[in-house]
Symmetry: C2
Subunit: 242 residues, 2 copies
DNA sequence: AAGGATTTGTTCGTATGTATA
DNA sequence: GTATACATACGAACAAATCCT
């Protein structure tokens, strides 16, 4: 029973058929309802749902309860430069994008081994953790978690809350300028918490940038871990600058 | 019916319970069978499977038919520097890793608009496309697709096949040295073709580096798109060099 | 080596919950 | 409020891969 004409499961063939229909333009924006797709392909509704789930994981489809299932438009990615001088506001404004940051939360934590090494403090030293959400045109763009030595920057939280800018908050704390020492990039699936804040699918991919900023004497100032939605961003590194 | 004590669906709570059991060490390597988990949590087997599917998508679990469901070990990521001088072999050997490249295929193609702009050739100009697979200790690490102007580098394919190195192949073609002009990084789900070659799950994440190399006069030499498995790599950018 | 037991994968059926139009 | 459409959940059966005797 459950005839498999060629060893390919039915939901996979239904998924391939839907993918082909989208590629050929037969389906443009919205999929027919699940029951109709089930009839059309001669399978149970569950089988259609399995296919849609797979295509959603691929990022091709997006199902909305009560509304329908839609083909995801793939907007061009915003180019985000990474380099010695990294200023979110400056970078975005070069591309005619008006950014705004939002303070999600702040907390006092103790440094673990990795954080201690990055910030050149003792393990267990007090840190200020700053949780931020960058928003562009009302659309959440990235989540970042910044860490500062609480001993060196006791008032960084209130300074950021006042100015809304890391650069200005550091200036208030006596750091006139800073530069990036190292940026490490990897990618993971978005965490449930970030998925909610970034208003993305729960299985979206985030680019993770883990960076350390140092002041002009080379002393570590900030350790920051930023999560960019991978389908909205492209990180750009140019050796010579633009 | 189907009492939702707190508005969280059952499969999600089962997933959270399993995640917690793994974090606390109650489950170390292998999960109990689905039927047993279903009994233990008082739900249907389908509900357990939905939870396991979610955790598999997160990369935490890996189900093998006939064998069981296992906790994925998360090996430390290899650090891959990106900068002006990028030489795969040199980079890997610094971390005591002995690399080897494998030529997957080569083809003559016509430049599309994007490629033409990157390589500074006319749209439709002939290009050599070089498909490679980088292997470390028998483990596939990255897939890359290189593009060269076929007019400027007519013999690049055979030169690479002989030497097994892009750097040496370019030297044979009269490019004594080259540097990276720009690297753009994003992330996507792995393509089915790459998944097979990289021997990874079909829903794995790849870091995609799209780069242009130029010779010492600044003329474009190579456009290369490399796919790194995100759970095996971390890309590192240091402004000043190491 | 053969065959039964175990375990995950697929497919159907049915019912109910929840959000949207 | 009703109808539509996706989401969750349970039950049953069989397929396919692996393991064990």
């Amino acid at each position: 029973m459950h005839a498999l004409d060629d060893g390919i499961s039915r939901w996979r063939r239904v998924a391939d058929a839907i993918r082909a229909d989208i590629a050929s333009g037969v389906i443009a924006q919205q999929l027919p309802p699940e029951v109709e797709l089930a009839e059309r392909h001669g399978v149970n509704r569950h089988t259609v749902r399995r296919a849609i789930a797979a295509l959603s994981t691929e990022g091709l489809l997006r199902a909305e309860r009560g509304r329908g299932t839609f083909v995801n438009a793939q907007p061009p990615r915003v180019i985000y430069p990474i380099g010695e001088r990294v200023r979110f506001r400056e970078n975005m404004m070069k591309q005619s994008i008006e950014p705004s940051g939002r303070l999600i939360g702040a907390e006092r934590v103790a440094a673990d081994a990795r954080q201690a090494a990055q910030l050149n403090v003792a393990v267990g030293a007090p840190l200020h953790r700053l949780e931020r959400l960058a928003v562009v045109d009302g659309m959440p763009m990235s989540r970042s978690t910044s860490l500062f030595s609480a001993e060196r920057f006791p008032d960084i939280i209130s300074a950021y809350a006042e100015t809304g800018s890391i650069t200005q908050a550091l200036q208030k704390s006596g750091v006139s300028d800073y530069r990036r020492r190292e940026t490490r990039i990897t990618a993971e699936r978005v965490s449930p918490n970030d998925a909610e804040l970034l208003q993305c699918a729960s299985d979206a991919i985030v680019l993770i940038s883990n960076a350390v900023d140092v002041d002009m004497e080379g002393k570590p100032v900030q350790s920051v871990r930023t999560r960019f939605l991978a389908d909205r961003f492209e990180l750009s590194f140019k050796p010579e600058g633009d």
